[in-house]
Amino acid sequence: MRYLPLTADDRPHMLASIGAGDIDDLFVDVPADKLLGEPLNLPDHQSEMAIERHMSALAAQNHAAGSGPSFLGAGAYRHHVPATVKHLMSRGEFLTAYTPYQPEISQGTLQVLFEFQTQVARLTGMEVANASMYDGSTACGEAVLMARRITKNKKVILSGNLHPHYADVVETVTRYMDDDVIRLPAAPEGGLPDVEIIDDLSCVVIQNPDVFGHVHDLAPLAEKLHEAGALLIVVVTEAVSLGAIRSPGEMGADIVVVEGQSIGNSMNFGGPYLGLFATRLRYVRQMPGRLCGETVDSDGQRGFVLTLSTREQHIRREKATSNICTNSGLCALAFSIHLSLLGETGLRQLASINHARAVHLAEKLEAVEGVSVVNESLFNELTLRVPSDAAGLVQRLADQNILAGVPASRLFGEGTGVDDLILLAATETNTEEDIDQLCDALQEALS
């Protein structure tokens, strides 16, 4: 078998050198009746060719977003990833490397992490960033727990326009802590929630641009919260938006969490994704996740190491800031490579193109009878109001190989007042033809 190098000669020889007669002698501690006597009900091994056939057939049952017009966003985005990115991140020295606990032979990974942390801090307008978390939603949950550690307060307010999956995750992760999570109602028309400063307020979590696509100035809210001793947590689900919109750091955010998938990573049906996490330097010891720092070796040569490890589970155990043990290493590498290729100029250009496409989409949609665009402001996502049953409409278009967007009811639940709304995104991968096809199909479906 191609992944098992021991041969029929090796095994008996090795058993003999150990002094064992049979392999099951080495399983002597397993209770005899628990050692499987019968083979499991599973197929036998197969050749690479046979597996390619099996998996390709499964892949063929999926409609790849790029094979037709596709306008899906709501937390995952279709962007063009340059060929260089995949090529570089697939190098075995990156792909099959371990966590850099032995820094002398991991300077590749470590320097990438240091550069990544710097890129994330600058992108978010914050002072320090970690080496990544699982994804934006779990990073959001960790941010809420961190705010509690800093403020010692227990009340958490979640904006109604925060991606519902993210709000769900916050509720799950605080379920057995004694935080009190207040979830505001959704406001598809936009506008910032009028946050009441209550006693014992730890933090407010706002998404910008929000799940309906609206763009907000968060500075006044940040000021109000700081006066009350509470923290502002800003969530960004579309990392490319940071190339066009004022950064959360500039607006006064205390913790910023971003879904980084848009840069360097395919949509992959929802994972693995990339949680970016950034905060103020004075909160660094409360920040979860891995951190890479600069230092020198014994010859005075610059090098990088994982540092401030006493925050983490392998040292602090039950007193750790989090139980997290991995980061999203490979996805962070892809992000970093893509961002290195883009640079400041390229990222701004990319963001500008995304915005231009979305603005054009909005204009074309406005011309379709029976629907209206809810948004005044937007970056690359918008909300479309349709006569009724957005989900049914989206399904009819999907049957014609047009992925028209995400029905808001898919995220918020049916019968919650958003059954007539579709969330659409436009990126640099959408063409004018895509937009025309969508509008024509919509018009047709509604007549």
Partner: protein, 515 residues
């Protein structure tokens, strides 16, 4: 001022080039490489775009007008940068990683090829389910394999990593207890446990109570019996345990736990030792996370991403979180509703699909027969190493081990060489060091896990290197150990300085001077 490592704690003048034997700082194929921020050409970019005119800005006046601070490089600069950096890494593709508890096995490229198919990579998680039936089939098949391999009826694919799976499992247990009106406050965790175990218990609001190990490296059954009362919600064990030993009393431990009304959580990090040979469900385990990046060969990627699906016993199934793939007539559907008594959403969307594809590809490659061989070869390889070194190193426990062999630093007593020094010398010999100082139950632990993908030749070379180092240490050559590694791209790094004066992002030199 000096620190323990005998080096100045003040920042030396930071150099991106060595002041070494060459004018460039390069040493033949070991090419020194500055940071991207040190190569910035403002306005430079490595990507081309077609122009798309903007009719009017709708950003609400919130345009980003301050500079972001991202450097500009060309495409070929970027290729050189990351290629050079990659060459400073050790990797499985290059050589053995004998890291106990990590299962650093070969990462097949077939897995990568399948995960990269557009039909898998270019699908959005919120596409209508009629358009992603193949994706749902992958999740369904992976779930079935995990159920069959563990002998446990329920599975949640949601957790994004092993530690996330632990959280999922333990929260599910708490939900089950609260549903029967029996909230309890403690979780029992062995002293030898991985740090994620107590950290996870704390996140569930539980107090952690430690169980000692006996002289044979296994859970002290008498101590466990004393601690098991009706205030214990769960025990969290790893089996085989972190000393590489199968818990002989595991069936009795499970029975005692259940009799006390508690649940049995198993950390599945060491599943590679028993996959296809033993089913955790048969042992009485109620919840177990599986590290797809360990047992099922998905790549470690320099630290992640992982994937930690959890299998459940019948009693816990109602409380486990989805989303779940279900049959609806002829088609598959995704149930994204969370039952009121279940613990709720663990993460956005549906799990680490990219890792599911890789793991399923691997499972299909090995088949049930191959996976059993995996466990047998993994255990054989570890025992071969144990028996080949027991005369020159100090195994911590007698008898055969499972897939990993634990040594302590007794054999280094009075040599002036520590476990750390010994490991750094192994780097010069061309190997990534074994796991050091874990588990905490022995002094100066060295935990060696070769996995089944090392050939006999590779093991013999490793054994040869360790024998040589052990003999070197005992014959008083401590200097070469303390100076190790000498042949890596950098020598030992000042971790004290890194922690005392953290520099966590690039600071241009002018900023340093101002401090």
């Amino acid at each position: 001022m000096m620190n323990r490592q005998g080096r100045p704690s003040q920042a030396a003048e930071n150099t991106s080039r060595t002041t070494g034997p060459t004018s460039t700082g390069h040493k033949a194929l070991d090419l020194s490489e500055p940071l991207i921020f040190e190569q910035d050409r403002p306005g430079q970019t490595g990507v081309d775009f077609e122009d798309v005119p903007l009719s009017r800005s709708r950003l609400g006046g919130l345009d980003r007008d301050q500079s972001i601070g991202l450097p500009g490089l060309t495409e070929s600069q970027v290729v050189r940068h990351y290629t050079r950096l990659s060459r400073k890494n050790y990797a499985i593709d290059m050589g053995m990683f004998p890291l106990g508890s990590c299962t650093m096995k070969h990462n097949p490229r077939l897995n990568e090829a399948m995960a990269g198919l557009p039909g898998f990579a270019d699908i959005h998680p919120l596409q209508p389910t009629s358009t992603i039936q193949g994706a749902l089939a992958v999740m369904d098949q992976l779930g079935d394999w995990l159920i069959e391999l563990t002998g446990m009826p329920g599975v949640s694919l949601a957790p994004k990593a092993g530690a996330h799976g632990e959280l999922c499992g333990l929260m599910t247990i708490r939900a089950a207890l609260e549903a029967r009106g029996d909230a309890r406050s403690r979780v029992l965790v062995p002293e030898s446990a991985h740090g994620t175990n107590p950290a996870t218990a704390a996140l569930c609001g539980y107090k952690v109570d430690s169980i000692p190990a006996n002289d044979e490296g296994r859970v002290d059954l008498e101590a466990l019996k004393e601690k098991l009362d009706d205030d214990v919600a769960a025990i969290m064990l790893t089996n085989p345990n972190t000393c590489g030993l199968f818990e002989r009393d595991i069936v009795e431990i499970a029975e005692l736990t259940h009799a006390a009304g508690a649940f049995f959580y198993c950390d599945g990090a060491n599943f590679n030792a028993i996959v296809g040979k033993v089913r955790p469900g048969d042992l009485g385990i109620d919840a177990m996370h599986i590290n797809l990046h360990k047992t099922f060969s998905t790549p470690h990627g320099g630290g992640g991403p992982g994937s930690g699906p959890v299998t459940f016993s019948e009693a816990l199934v109602p409380y486990a979180p989805g989303p779940f793939v279900k049959q609806a007539g002829d088609a598959l559907t995704l149930d994204e509703g969370f039952e009121p008594e279940a613990i709720g959403r663990m993460a956005a969307f549906h799990g680490q699909m990219g890792m599911f594809i890789r793991a399923l590809t691997y499972m299909l490659s090995h088949g049930g027969d191959g996976l059993k061989q995996v466990a047998e070869d993994a255990v054989l390889n570890a025992n071969y190493i144990l028996s080949s070194l027991q005369d020159v190193m100090s195994p911590s426990f007698a008898g055969p081990c499972m897939h990993e062999a634990l040594f302590d630093d007794k054999f280094l007593k009075d040599t002036g060489v520590s476990t750390l020094d010994f490991s750094k010398a192994l780097i010069d010999e061309g190997f990534h060091p074994m796991t050091m100082y874990f588990p905490l139950v022995v002094q100066g632990a060295m935990l060696i896990e070769p996995t089944e993908t090392e050939s006999r030749e590779s093991l013999d070379e490793f054994i040869h290197a360790l024998r040589h180092l052990a003999q070197s240490a005992s014959s008083g050559k401590s200097n070469s150990f303390v100076a190790a590694p000498q042949y890596a791209p950098v020598t030992r790094l000042d971790e004290t300085q890194a922690a005392r004066k953290p520099v966590l992002s690039y600071q241009p030199p002018e900023v340093d001077a101002a401090e």
